[in-house]
């Protein structure tokens, strides 16, 4: 089941058992929720294409004890209504769940207006915002159920590409995939698949993060190998560098990584084509890690 279909399945399951939940669709995912729109008319709404007011309305729902879920395409959910996320939820300390579709360049053929590789980075700057990047459909199911009613603003990033293997993930905690001594590699969300293949046979630790805010510093502190950390991010790079620096203090560390390059992607085609050209594949990642390990 794709992450998008899992989203529908998990949310419908939650709606059925928790009447506090109100789902607001930005005219996206309407077909998937067509049955719920009829069955739960006071809990599921196709609100329309007005993202800023949708977030504001969601905050109003939260103020009365409802648990809002808002779903639309990533740039409109995050960038267009950034101030509402900041003021209405984070500043007011209200709980809500913001689930995007179209991670980074998943909508590869639609151009940069529909890309959002900046989402993780800019949301990291909002005090109190939780950020979750599940690597598989099952991990999304686990994490949404763990967090949806925690009374905090939480962002879930659905992605088209998924890892082959599920992990038993816990909100706020990273998983140790492999232990080694020459470097620590961090894979975030759907990057794990290719990164795991890349580090197979290398003497490196591999940590898997599905929550980037709050950031699990403890596990990183215990697994910093040789003062070198290689970060694999499915978004603009640097989103967790400050967390890394704080985690390893007072020691210094060399950081490098692979991420979506900081430029507009002006080609169309498929997501896979973009992945390959950007080096998001095991052989390319392996080469980069080996070079990094060998750097003085």
């Amino acid at each position: 089941m794709s992450m998008r279909k899992q989203f529908i399945s998990t949310v419908e399951e939650l709606i059925a058992r928790d009447e506090r939940i109100v789902l607001l669709l930005g005219d996206i995912g309407v077909f998937g929720f067509r049955n719920s729109l009829i069955k739960y008319p006071k809990q599921v709404y196709n609100i329309g294409i007005l993202e800023q007011s949708t977030i504001g309305l969601a905050a109003g729902l939260a103020m009365t004890g409802k648990i809002p879920f808002v779903h639309t395409i990533a740039p409109f959910l995050v960038e267009r209504s950034y101030e509402q996320l900041k003021d209405d939820f984070c500043y007011q300390e209200l709980g809500g769940n913001f689930i995007s579709v179209g991670a980074s360049y998943d909508y590869s053929a639609l151009g940069s207006t529909h890309h959002c590789p900046a989402d993780v980075g800019i949301l990291k700057l909002l005090p109190g915002m939780e950020i979750i990047l599940p690597g598989t459909s099952r991990e999304f199911d686990i994490l949404l159920k763990q967090c949806y009613s925690n009374n905090n603003p939480t962002y879930f990033r659905l992605s088209e590409y998924e890892n082959d293997e599920d992990y038993d993930v816990t909100f706020g905690k990273a998983n140790i995939i492999q232990r080694g001594s020459q470097a620590t590699v961090i894979a975030i969300g759907s990057m794990l698949n290719q990164v795991k293949k890349a580090v197979s046979g290398l003497d490196v630790s591999l940590l898997y993060y599905t929550t980037v805010a709050p950031f699990d510093m403890e596990i990183l502190k215990k697994h910093v190998s040789h003062g070198k950390i290689f970060v694999c991010e499915p978004n603009y790079g640097g989103s967790i560098y400050f967390d890394i620096i704080r985690a390893v203090k007072p020691n210094s560390v060399q950081i490098d990584g692979i991420s979506v390059p900081h430029r507009f992607l002006n080609h169309y085609g498929s997501r896979e084509e973009h992945d390959n050209i950007l080096g998001f594949n095991a052989p390319e990642i392996k080469k980069r890690i080996i070079n990094f390990i060998n750097e003085k």
């Binding site: 109100v22 609100i47 905050a59 009365t64």
Partner: protein, 282 residues
């Protein structure tokens, strides 16, 4: 430049005897609160006095006569909700809440001090009686729509009032919210527009009545400083649609040097100005 206020009557055209009988008493009280606003602004050298003066009459009538919102029921579900979407006018709300017993004057005198809960914009996590942390224009109205929607889902009889500024009506979220409120037929929602025309120098709103009518709202227009008209308008309820009260007001109302004077948008009085203004308000 407008001179004076148009004379309108609220819905039904009748004056409320509830307000009329004690009109002088209310007006004296409101004058007292104006003086307090000036003093708070002088002491802190902060605050948007003119915006506060623009809405004070409206807030007084709401809290004095309409809102089922008290210090005792503020955390209960059956209260009415008021959101000041034009958050910079919060001095008006602060003094009215103080008068209604939500906090003391001595607490309010800390306005804008470093550790004070009372800032230049209201904070719901710091001040009892404040429902939303507004300040960025265009945020309070959508939140009010969300609250009204939730209350209608719960079939609550509580009402939701939201006060917006005319400058704030430049924001797209105001019209998005107007669409949403109509779509959900939020009869429990009443929007009050503090129409002091401060936005005319930038982006004139044209015929605001027609705009809201075209969005499917019930519309009334009043003199926003006439306590009877305010009472008549806010006490009316609707059965099937959201309602808007377009309150024609004067920014800085009650103080001649401030009225319609942009210089006083975010200005605090000097010592000599304080003395002169207090004298005028006495």
């Amino acid at each position: 430049m407008r001179v004076g206020l148009p004379i309108y009557y609220g819905i039904g055209g009748q004056k409320s005897s509830l307000i009329k009988n004690k009109l002088i008493m209310h007006k004296l009280k409101i004058k007292e609160l104006r003086k307090l606003i000036i003093e708070l602004s002088y002491k802190s050298q902060e605050g948007h006095i003119a915006s506060a003066f623009s809405i004070l009459d409206i807030l007084w009538v709401l809290y004095e006569r309409i809102l089922n919102t008290t210090p005792k029921n503020i955390n209960t579900e059956n209260r009415d909700i008021f959101i000041l979407s034009k958050g910079h006018a919060c001095l008006a709300q602060y003094v009215v809440l103080m008068e209604k017993g939500f906090f003391s004057k001595s607490e309010l005198l800390s306005f804008c001090e470093y550790n004070s809960p009372f800032g230049g914009h209201p904070d719901r996590n710091k001040i009892i009686g404040i429902e939303a942390s507004t300040g960025s224009l265009g945020h309070g109205f959508p939140m009010a729509v969300g609250i009204a929607l939730a209350l209608s889902i719960k079939q609550s009889s509580s009402r939701v009032f939201v006060l917006v500024g005319d400058g704030e009506c430049n924001e797209g979220t105001i019209w998005e919210s107007a669409m949403l409120a109509n779509r959900f037929q939020l009869a429990n929602l009443c929007c009050i527009v503090d129409f002091n025309h401060s936005t005319d120098r930038a982006l004139s709103l044209g015929n605001l009545q027609d705009k809201f009518l075209s969005f499917g709202w019930g519309v009334s227009t009043i003199n926003g400083h006439d306590l009877d008209q305010i009472y008549d308008a806010v006490s009316k309820t609707s059965s099937n649609k959201p309602s808007v009260i377009i309150a024609e007001t004067i920014k800085g109302y009650g103080c001649k040097r401030m009225e319609n004077n942009p210089e006083w948008h975010h200005k605090s009085p000097s010592e000599s100005e304080l003395k002169e203004i207090i004298k005028e308000l006495s």
